[in-house]
C-alpha cells in the first residue's frame, strides 16, 4: 500500500505541482488579507484563526476535481489490493500534498503576525492537521460523486462545502479559544472525532460509488 500511496503522491506533486500550487495560493491569500485588514494585533488575533481555516479549506479544494482520473481506476478496480484501502491512500496523498505543508507553515506565519501567540503553535498545528485530513477525505467523496460529469469542479465544491463546515467551525473555534486563553480541548476533541470518522468512512463510500459508476458506464 506504501507503493500505491507514493505513486499517487508523485502524480499529484510532480506531475501536477499540487503542493506548490496550494501552498502558494494559501500564502498569497493570507498575505493579501493581512494587508487589507491592517497590522493591528488585536484585530488580527481575532480574525486570523477563522481566516486561516477558511483559506485552508479553499486551498484543499485545489486538485480535487481531477483527483480520480480515467484509466487509473480500471487498474484499481481489478487490483489485488482493496479499493477502499487504495482510496484511503489517495486521500492521504492529497492530504500530504495540500494539507500538511499548510498545517505546518501557517501557524508559524500566525505567530509572526500576532505577538505573543507562540504558545498557540501546538494547538494550531494539531487543529490544522486534523481539519486538513477531514477536508481531504470529504473531498475524495466529492470527487467520487462527481466522477464522469463534465465541469465537475463547481458541482464538487457545492457537494463538499456543507460537509466541510463542521471541521471548519471546530478547528477555527479551537484556535480562537486558544487565542483568548480559553479551553480549546472540547472543540479539538470534536475535530479529532470528525477527522477519524471521515478518514475511515469516506474511502469506503468513495470505493462503493466508483465501483458502481465505472461498471455501469
Amino acid at each position: 500500500m506504501m507503493v500505491v500511496y507514493r505513486h499517487f503522491l508523485r502524480r499529484m506533486t510532480r506531475d501536477r505541482g499540487l503542493m506548490g500550487q496550494s501552498a502558494g495560493f494559501f500564502a498569497l491569500a493570507v498575505t493579501v488579507c493581512v494587508f487589507a485588514i491592517g497590522p493591528d494585533a488585536v484585530i488580527l488575533s481575532a480574525v486570523l484563526p477563522g481566516l486561516v481555516w477558511a483559506l485552508q479549506l479553499l486551498s484543499a479544494l485545489l486538485g480535487l476535481s481531477d483527483m480520480l482520473e480515467g484509466e487509473d481506476l480500471d487498474d484499481l478496480l481489478l487490483a489485488r489490493t482493496s479499493l477502499p484501502a487504495a482510496m484511503c491512500a489517495k486521500a492521504l496523498a492529497h492530504l500530504t500534498a495540500t494539507g500538511l505543508p499548510i498545517a505546518v507553515l501557517a501557524p508559524l506565519a500566525v505567530s509572526l503576525l500576532v505577538p505573543g501567540s507562540a504558545a498557540l503553535l501546538p494547538c494550531m498545528w494539531l487543529g490544522l492537521a486534523l481539519s486538513a485530513a477531514s477536508f481531504s477525505a470529504i473531498g475524495l467523496l466529492g470527487a467520487a460523486l462527481t466522477l464522469g460529469s463534465r465541469r465537475n469542479a463547481a458541482l464538487q465544491a457545492l457537494i463538499i462545502l456543507p460537509l466541510c463546515v463542521p471541521p471548519l467551525i471546530f478547528g477555527a473555534g479551537a484556535a480562537s479559544a486558544a487565542m483568548l486563553d480559553q479551553g480549546w480541548q472540547a472543540p479539538m476533541a470534536f475535530l479529532a472525532a470528525i477527522a477519524c470518522a471521515s478518514l475511515t468512512l469516506c474511502p469506503f463510500a468513495a470505493a462503493w460509488i466508483i465501483r458502481m459508476k465505472v461498471t455501469s458506464a
Binding site: M1, V3, V4, R6, H7, R10, R11, R14, D15, G70, E71, D74, D75, L76, L77, L78, A79, R80, T81, V214, T215, S216, A217
Partner: protein
C-alpha cells in the same frame, strides 16, 4: 485443469445505452486459444472486452474467468514518472514485487527515463511490459499494437505466441488483425 476453459461466456449480452453491441454470446475460450475482436471505431469491441474483464456490467448473461491481465487502450500519459516507478506501482496492485518475467520489449535501458521523454511507441512497450509482471493465464488486450513499429509488433506477436504455448489464452480487440492471420475472429458492427 487442462480442460476447464480459461474464459467462458454464457448468453452474454452487452449494451451501451440502447444499442446492443453483442447479443447472446455463449462460448468458451480454452487454453492456447487466441480470439480477436474486430470492427470499426465505436462498434463495441472495447465495451465487450470490459465486460469480459468485469469492468462493465453486462445487460444479461454471465462471464466466468480465471485470473486475467487487463490492458486498456488508453496510452500512458506524459508523466514525470519513470517506467520503473510505473511498473513498481502496477506490480504492487498485482500483489507481487517488481520484476519482469522476461524483458520482451527491451525496456531495461529506459527504466529510469521519465515517461514524458519516451516516444509513444516506447510508452506502449512499457505498458505492454505489465503483462510480464505476473504470470496470469488470461490476457485481455485492447489495441495492444497501437503505436508500435514493425519490431515492436513482431515482439508483441512473439510474446503472445509464447503465452499461448504456456497454456495461456488471449482476447484482443484490434484494428491490426493481419498480425494474427490464423486467429479466430468475432466481428463487431454488423448488427451485433
Amino acid at each position: 485443469m487442462a480442460n476447464t476453459p480459461v474464459l467462458s461466456m454464457n448468453a452474454l449480452t452487452v449494451t451501451r445505452g440502447d444499442t446492443v453491441l453483442a447479443r447472446n454470446v455463449t462460448r468458451d475460450v480454452p487454453a492456447r486459444a487466441l480470439w480477436l475482436l474486430t470492427g470499426p471505431n465505436g462498434s463495441g469491441k472495447t465495451s465487450f472486452l470490459r465486460a469480459l474483464a468485469g469492468l462493465l456490467q453486462p445487460a444479461s448473461g454471465a462471464v466466468a474467468r480465471t485470473d486475467a491481465h487487463w490492458l486498456a487502450a488508453m496510452p500512458l500519459g506524459l508523466s514525470l514518472e519513470t517506467p520503473r516507478q510505473y511498473l513498481t506501482y502496477q506490480a504492487a496492485l498485482m500483489g507481487v514485487p517488481f520484476a519482469l518475467i522476461a524483458d520482451i520489449f527491451s525496456i531495461a535501458p529506459h527504466l529510469d527515463t521519465p515517461l514524458n521523454r519516451l516516444s509513444t511507441g516506447w510508452r506502449q512497450r512499457v505498458k505492454l511490459s505489465r503483462l510480464m509482471l505476473a504470470d496470469r493465464p488470461l490476457w485481455l488486450l485492447d489495441e495492444p499494437s497501437d503505436g508500435l513499429d514493425a519490431d515492436g509488433e513482431a515482439r508483441l506477436v512473439q510474446m503472445i505466441q509464447t503465452h499461448l504455448a504456456h497454456e495461456g489464452a488471449c482476447v484482443i480487440a484490434t484494428h491490426d488483425p493481419h498480425l494474427w492471420p490464423r486467429a479466430e475472429t468475432m466481428a463487431f458492427g454488423d448488427a451485433g
